[in-house]
């Protein structure tokens, strides 16, 4: 039995009113928690989906280039000492950075030139599994190669070389079957011939060599700059570039979802807090008699202030706890209903549960500050009018 007994018993005094207030605030907290959980999951899912539309970091060998002209003859940009990136070491180094969990795909490539039917064409060696991971928008009229003697031809290259699916072509002294023609992508992929990386490395006698490596990083909540810096530290002899436009576009989509959730949450929070504040204000007016009794027993203004704040705080803590649990469960329903989860699930956190109880307890105390101050300011003489 202590001062806590007074607000606790008073909460029980009007169960329907207390339940209604608890329901309103819990619904508010539930909406906020559900929105947070959904926005987190949707953010991750969106980031994953966006990642499947291409890489956002490119790693290439460090080069020195010079614009050469002599005697009025422009030779264009000349490169010095272009070295291949060793595939295994580079991929291992990429996978070893501190933010490695944010890296969703690493797609090495070797680019070389070859001739098909006496026409020069760019030949790109890829690791099919990784490549298809970051280029899920690719589609073909046949199928993607599943053997090293199969190749995939870009649409424009196929038109120029008059090739179609199922044709056999000779490349670098070996015969390959065209497993499919890539549908037009609007990118450089339309003009190249793609084949298995190991096969190409062996044909050009450059075992383990790559020309550049594309990296897709998940960046919901992580700065791409940090990933790039860590990659630069790991690969001092390579040139690491973030494709800022792609990154910014992806981040903007993710941040939009999160900002929208934050704004809606704030509106809900302010509305629920205003309801608690109004309810406490009317409770203070209703309880002038109680305040008069307590003041006649020597309860000071601080005691009265504390009792009213405590009452609001108890409702906040309860609502925060109930709201977190129901919001967590509701987020599954919302994600299921909207089919947005894409494999990701909301995360339950005991720390977040405690935090929710504490934060919403404090929010209701804040909402009750004015009513408490008003209640505490009632002089015993004014309260006696009610007696």
């Amino acid at each position: 039995m202590n001062i806590l007994t007074i607000p606790l018993r008073n909460i029980r005094r009007k169960p329907s009113k207390t339940m209604l207030l608890l329901l309103v605030f819990s619904l508010g907290v539930m909406s906020i928690v559900a929105l947070y959980q959904v926005s987190e999951v949707v953010g991750l899912s969106l980031e994953k989906k966006l990642t499947s539309f291409g890489a956002n970091i490119v790693i290439s060998p460090a080069t020195e280039k010079l614009n050469v002209s002599y005697g009025g003859f422009q030779m264009g940009e000349m490169f010095f000492e272009i070295e291949d990136l060793p595939e295994e070491d580079t991929v291992t180094a990429i996978r070893a950075i501190e933010l490695r969990e944010r890296i969703s795909a690493v797609a090495p490539k070797l680019v070389t030139m070859a001739k098909i039917n006496n026409t020069a064409v760019a030949l790109v060696g890829v690791r099919w599994q990784q490549e298809l991971g970051i280029k899920s928008y690719w589609a073909t009229d046949g199928s993607f190669p599943d053997h090293s003697d199969q190749i995939l031809v870009g649409r424009r290259a196929a038109v120029d070389l008059e090739l179609s699916t199922g044709d056999k072509v000779s490349l670098l002294g070996e015969e390959f079957t065209i497993s499919g023609i890539l549908f037009e992508t609007g990118t450089d992929d339309d003009t190249v011939v793609l084949m298995d990386l190991s096969k190409l490395q062996s044909l050009v006698n450059r075992p383990g060599a790559t020309s550049f490596i594309e990296v897709a990083a998940l960046c919901a909540g992580c700065p791409i700059g940090d990933i790039v810096n860590q990659l630069r530290e790991q690969l001092p002899n390579a040139d690491v570039k973030a494709l800022q436009n792609i990154v910014n576009q992806r981040m903007a989509s993710v941040h939009f979802v999160q900002k929208l959730a934050l704004i809606i949450s704030l509106v809900i929070l302010v509305t629920a807090s205003a309801m608690v504040g109004l309810s406490m204000l009317s409770a203070v007016n209703e309880r002038k008699k109680d305040i008069g009794i307590l003041r006649s027993l020597g309860y000071g203004k601080g005691n009265i202030f504390f009792i009213i704040c405590l009452e609001a705080g108890l409702i906040g803590v309860l609502s925060g706890t109930i709201g977190y649990l129901t919001g967590y469960l509701a987020s599954f329903k919302v994600l299921g209903f909207l089919s947005l989860a894409d494999g990701a699930t909301p995360m339950f956190s005991f720390t977040h549960l405690l935090l929710s109880g504490t934060v919403f307890g404090l929010v209701t105390v804040l909402a009750a500050l004015y009513p408490s101050w008003k209640g505490a300011g009632i002089e015993p003489s004014a309260a006696l009018v009610a007696l």
Binding site: R13, S296, G298, K301
Partner: protein, 220 residues
Amino acid sequence: MLTAKNITKDFTVSGKVVPVLKGIFLSVDEGEFVAIVGRSGSGKTTLLNVLSTLVKPDDGDLHYRKNDLRSLSDSRLNKLRQADFSVIFQFHHLLPYLTVLENSLLPFMRSMKPVKKEDMNKARQCLDRVGLADKADRLPGSLSGGEQQRVAIARALVKSSKVLFADEPTGSLDKATGEQIMELLSTLHQEGMSIVMVTHEPEYAKLTQRTVVIEDGLMV
């Protein structure tokens, strides 16, 4: 022990200033039982509220054991109400959501510190004294008017008040119950408690040591 000199108090009703106390002189000695009587609206309840520090007078001197009550800070006045003064009202005024025992222990529930066991035992003894030991865990709403008034008296007993201010303690009770309450007050007085009681019942006023008559805000 408690002295009031030339106490005045006005109230503003609908923008009009109404003088309620117009210069009251009253002193209450240690262990004295004083009745304040008068017609409705004469100012007797306002005088009781001024004496018990619940209402601040507009003018005059008010002293309790060398303390100038008019110049005491809020916290000192609260301490006085916590320890020395107790007020019981005509309509009992218990917190309806607390049990009888909790109501009698209210003076000790001002902080997060749990009520001490000895205070709890004392409260049970006091409830036993006013005949409510078996109803300690009941809510006030389930008690009769007389029983509720006895809870308010028990509350004054628990904190060993020096002065009990009673505002028409029998006003809402039937005759038999009113007499029981008066008997209880008389006993407390015999044990040394000072009591200032407002009443409009002349027969109950006769049971006190001294009767003060208030008429139109003045003592007659």
